[in-house]
């Protein structure tokens, strides 16, 4: 019998309490989220992506771990072997072996070749998701990323968290 998904909120809240930290204020969005139906088949869509696993390309500045709200633009023609990770809150061993587990670039390039997805945006965006200030993400980082998606004229956006 399958075990249920891990309760990260409870575990992390308990850990913080044990460490003597103030209770972490988890983001909770109770309102119905905005929702738009797909206007054309995926095979005709341009797909954008943002990943929070701290992925960067060699030559770019790596992320730091203290509420880094910067993001990187990684060309979707990037060599997979040029990808790196910098993050403090997950085991990066497998992501460093194969970045596709947190940044599915080869997977998506293949699906474009197969005609499943129309095309990829010129750049995919990445950031380091270990940002303790949810206000800075909501008010600062998310709007800047949204601007990019709008400017890139993507039809769909895939969010890949860690």
């Amino acid at each position: 019998m399958s075990q249920p998904p891990v309760e990260y909120i409870r575990r992390i809240t308990d850990n913080y309490a044990k460490l003597g930290y103030k209770a972490y204020q988890w983001v909770n969005n109770p309102e119905v989220p905005p929702w738009t139906p797909l206007k054309k088949p995926l095979s005709q869509c341009k797909l954008g992506l943002v990943a929070s696993g701290g992925i960067y390309a060699t030559g770019q500045i790596a992320f730091h771990f203290k509420d880094d709200t910067s993001f990187r633009a990684i060309p979707t023609t990037v060599k997979t072997t040029d990808l790196r990770t910098a993050h403090f809150a997950y085991d990066q061993t497998d992501a460093r072996k194969d970045p596709n587990v947190v940044f599915p670039i080869d997977t998506l390039r293949r699906l474009v070749k197969e005609g499943v997805v129309g095309s990829l945006a010129e750049n995919f965006y990445t950031f380091m998701g270990g940002i303790y200030s949810s206000r800075r993400v909501a008010d600062d980082l998310a709007p800047r990323l949204t601007e990019r998606f709008v400017a890139d004229e993507v039809d769909v956006a895939l969010l890949v968290p860690v």
Partner: protein, 111 residues
């Protein structure tokens, strides 16, 4: 799943894999492709805002779950300087930063 539900995005596909494996297992492109196909299908099959599709893939065993639930905070310290994966990365990044007065979007930190 609990964090996903609290965030409440318009549509979501949930993969019950260990942290750091959001889109699959390393060096398994066929599996990664299957996972992605099922996830992308959500763009058309999910019709109610906030709906979550649970993807039908299982990590080999579920031994990782009890550990994930009970282990202490295994995070590394929160350094406030760029944490390069390799020393070569740091050298390249610093050379790029030095070489341009107005850094290109692709090499520099944006924001």
């Amino acid at each position: 799943m609990d964090i996903l539900k609290a965030g409440n995005p318009p549509r979501a596909a949930f993969l019950d894999y260990p942290l750091g494996h959001t889109t699959g297992k390393p060096s398994q492109p066929e599996l990664q492709r299957e996972i992605m196909l099922q996830a992308l299908e959500s763009f058309t099959s999910l019709t109610v805002p906030g709906q979550i599709k649970v993807l039908p893939f299982r990590w080999d065993d579920e031994d990782w779950k009890p550990t994930a639930m009970t282990e202490g905070d295994a995070r590394t310290p929160r350094h406030d300087t760029p944490q390069y994966q390799t020393e070569e990365d740091r050298i390249r990044a610093e050379a790029n930063a030095a070489a341009c007065e107005v850094c290109e979007v692709r090499t520099s930190a944006i924001g």
